[in-house]
Structures are given as C-alpha cells and as structure tokens.
C-alpha cells in the first residue's frame, strides 16, 4: 500500500481508533459527544465534550512519522481564549503501531510503505482552581456565530455561557442597536 497524501487516515484506521460510550467525568456523568474538526493540519481532530460543553479530551490524529505536537499546540492556541490555557505539559503524544489496533488495522499498517504509525496528540485540561478558589473547567463553544470552535475556561456552575467570542459579538450588537 502506498502512503496516502497529507497524513489522512483510511476508514479502517479511523474505525480502529474510534472510542464510544465514554461519560463526562466528575461533572454530569452524561454521555460524551464527539465532534470532528478539520484545520490546516492534514490529520483530523475529535473533541469529546458533554452536552453542557465541558471538554473531556481533544485529540488530533495523523498518519505520519513526524511528531505533530508543535503544530497541534499552535492550532489549539488559535482556538483557545486565552491561548495560555494551552500548556505544553497538557499535550501528550501516543503512537499507534498496529498490533494494538486489531487485525484489520494491523495488516494495513504493516503493508504501508514507508512504514509509519498513527500519531495521536491528546489535549486534556484537568479541572483547576482560579485565583479566587472557584473550580474551572475547559469548555468548548461550537455556536455558528464563529466559524471555528472556541475553547475557554469557566466555572461549571456559571449562570451564563462564558464563550468570550459570543460575548464580544453580543456586546458589539448591543452597542449597534443602542
């Protein structure tokens, strides 16, 4: 099998990497929804978040020999407000070689030339406390008022939706109407 262009994955590999059935950990225990994203990077993104928008984990998958972590960090910082929420220590690399992905994926990866594994970069932000002691979680907003996802930190008990981009647009709209 020849290398596919751009690090994208054939369906066999996508299926082998798919995980379902996870629940929101230490927040609402509701099933996580998986949202697929694209960016300028050749691989694909998955954001696992509960219906309230609390993010469990975001991952980027690319079929490549290189380590995509740096590019992943740059892209995440574009999507995150403030960008300092994306810390290098929260980005973790994993290589999936084939034997641990089931027979179909194993055969496909074994026949690929040049030999390469599937590289996954996980971004997981554990709950943390703000300076005033309140618990903060990572949220994601997919509203259509902005073309890209917006990651932000907020208190899980906050009364209002804390997306900074949506809030800016609301404020701008209110100014225009007044």
């Amino acid at each position: 099998m020849t290398a596919r262009r751009g690090g994208s994955l054939p369906p066999t590999l996508e299926a082998a990497l798919e995980t379902t059935g996870a629940k929101c950990y230490r927040h609402c225990d509701k099933p996580l929804r998986i949202r697929r994203l694209r960016s300028r990077l050749p691989g694909f993104w998955s954001v696992r978040a509960c219906p309230s928008g609390v993010v469990s984990v975001t991952d980027y998958v690319e079929w490549t020999r290189r380590d995509p972590t740096v590019g992943v960090g740059i892209q995440l910082r574009r999507w995150t407000f403030p960008s300092t929420l994306v810390r290098s220590r929260d980005l973790r690399l994993a290589t999936r070689h084939g034997p641990e992905l089931g027979r179909a994926a194993e055969r496909l990866l074994a026949s690929a030339r040049p030999a390469r594994g599937v590289r996954v970069v996980y971004w997981r932000v554990y709950p943390f406390r703000a300076k005033n002691g309140t618990e903060r979680r990572l949220f994601v907003c997919f509203r259509r008022t902005h073309p890209s996802p917006v990651f932000f930190a907020s208190a899980p008990s906050a009364a209002s939706w804390g997306c900074p981009v949506c809030a800016r647009r609301r404020t701008a709209a209110a100014k225009r109407n007044s």
Partner: protein, 123 residues
Amino acid sequence: MVWDMPGAKPSGRPRQLTIVLAQWCPHCVPLSVRYGGRLAKRLGVRLRILDIDRRAQEKLADRLVRDYGDASPDYLIPQVFLEWSDGRVQPLLTGFSEQVRRTEQAWRDLLSSEWLLSVRETL
C-alpha cells in the same frame, strides 16, 4: 529517534518486557500489570515494571520513553516496550487517554495480534 515498528521482525530473541507505569493510574494497575504478565509469559521473557514515582526507576523509565517511546513533558502511561537480545527496543503499546476499557481493548488486540503470532513462531 530510533523508531522500530512492531510489524518489523528484529533479529535475535525477545529478552525482556518493560512497562512504564504509576501505581495510581487505572490504565496501569492492575490492568496493564495483568495483561503485561500474560504477554511476557507468551513471549517467554521476564516482566520488568518501572514505576515513575520511584526515583531510581523513574530515571530508567524517562530514558526508555525519551529514546524509544512517546515522549512528552508529562508523558502518557502506561508505555510498554519489548527489549531484544540484539539490543533493539520496540515500543508496543501506549495507554489511551480515553476510558480504561479502551486501553484494555488495546491489550487484547495486542495479545491476539499477527505480530505476536509471528514472534512466537520464531521462538
């Protein structure tokens, strides 16, 4: 970085299976210790555990991960390596960042893989 695909067949014989783990990690203990023991038995090698919370073992674990594994500032665990008699080291499995049962599935797939069958045929 030496990047040895498990699909490739190194010369020599399997010598030691190493798991880099932490006792508090549910993907590691007891799950990976149990499955790692099974894999080591099938390969006829000893199982070495490197606990990242024990200073002496942490240094070895960090070096193994840096040289052959999935290195990050706060790297994923468990990471599993097979060392061969000719000195080569193969990364076999890195824990998933999703649910524990996903890592368990990876262990099951590894134990029933064609790679393991082919290695056992050469023993």
